[in-house]
Amino acid sequence: MTAIESRPTASEPVLLPTGAIEACDFSFFYGKKQALFDVSLAIEPRAVTALIGPSGCGKSTFLRSINRLNDTIPGTRHSGEILLDNDDVYSKGTDIVALRQRVGMVFQRWNPFPTSIYDNVVYGPRINGVRSRSELDAIAEDALRRAALWDEVRGRLRTSALGLSGGQQQRLCIARALANQPEVLLLDEPASALDPIATQKIEALLYELKSQLTIVIVTHNLQQAARISDRTAFFFLGKLVEADTTDRIFTRPREDRTEAYITGRFG
């Protein structure tokens, strides 16, 4: 699949192509340990980019640098820039709260709050000051529909989120992120702990969503990367080895290390 397919058709509203991410010589350190080395990577808006590579090569670190979630770990620092729609997310003027609302995140281990399904979804809008009941209801329904969960939970929005299956909880976490109307959705191995059917639902969902926002997904599963992504970036030992269209990476990679990884010779 190519980027052409993800462009809005004439009948759809034309969405502004926001959500472009560009890392420029980005390095990241946990204390003395350097986890990322001069990563330069342009991430296309409104497409799915897969980050692949062996464990510990810095995929999560890179992802968590985009929404500055790694800032919360004491002793970390960075150099270089990550631009979101041409503004450095690390510049002094950045409002981290606003940044994290623009850039949603979904984690490997689903982490709904121990409250109702409804309350989980509207957490983000609520802290933004949305108080009106009807508005919150509309946001919740919209987000749950976009996360392909509405039909399964519509009758039990007031029940505990923790009563849902793992796959449903993960889609609830996606809905919770979507309720903030983000431009970018970051997913860190969102399906690695799910069974194949639940995984397939998440993949179908991401395919639906990519016309609406920029998706960056870390995955260990190469078939998954091949199935759902438009572009793939291969990380190795904290460095970006190669990034290109997914087709190209899986058929004619430029680098030997990329080929070795995707053919299963290591990692």
Partner: protein, 269 residues
Amino acid sequence: MVSLTYIAAALATLPLIFILVHLVRAGAASINPAFFMQMPKPVGESGGGMANAIVGTLILISIAATVGLPIGIGAGLYLAEHKGKRLANTVRFLSDVLNGLPSIVMGIFAWQFLVRPAGHFSALAGGIALGVMMIPLVTRTTEEMIRIVPNSLREAALALGYQRWRTSLSIILRTALPGIVTGALVAVARVAGETAPLLFTAFGNQFWSAAIQRPIAALPLQIFTYAISPYDAWHSQAWAGALVLIGIVLVISIAARLATRSRFGSAVD
């Protein structure tokens, strides 16, 4: 070795069983509606109750909870969110020391700083002394309960655009709440039976009083007074009082148990 632990486990529960059995045998006979509704009778008259002491104890632990819970929970939240910092370590250490402070010392201090300046004994002074004793207990459990809230929830909140303090208050505190409530109730139960801090603060009162600026009756004090008296009738009243006190503590402990079952299940697995 394993069988030794069984024996130890049995020995650990034995005192409670022994005490309960004995209390029921010695005290149950005096427990009747009058015990809860009536005032103590003068020496020589039979019957009477401990209504004033029961109400007094409830008032004292209400004051104690009002003082101890907000400070303890706040301090616990602070400690959990600033772990590793020098000030936090100091606060934790001092809180542990406070926890180890003999309760009679707490009573003397309350007398020195609350009773003496006011010029009279009062329920307020007693309640504050008990409340201060609660603080380190509540601080500790709050900190521990917040610590076991999974980091993934914290990150989920931050990733949604929560500020740190909001994350602490609305996600962490709420998730830890059942555990904190349990800790709070355990602390209340713990101070409900304290006698020493009340000796020179609440002082006790043979008459009806619910005024917090006056001396007030309390079950532990009443039990103490009756138990050291030379009268058999008072002795059995003391046993009955002890039984009621244990009953109150038991009810609070059961409430604590129920509180741990939160409505939405626990996020802490």
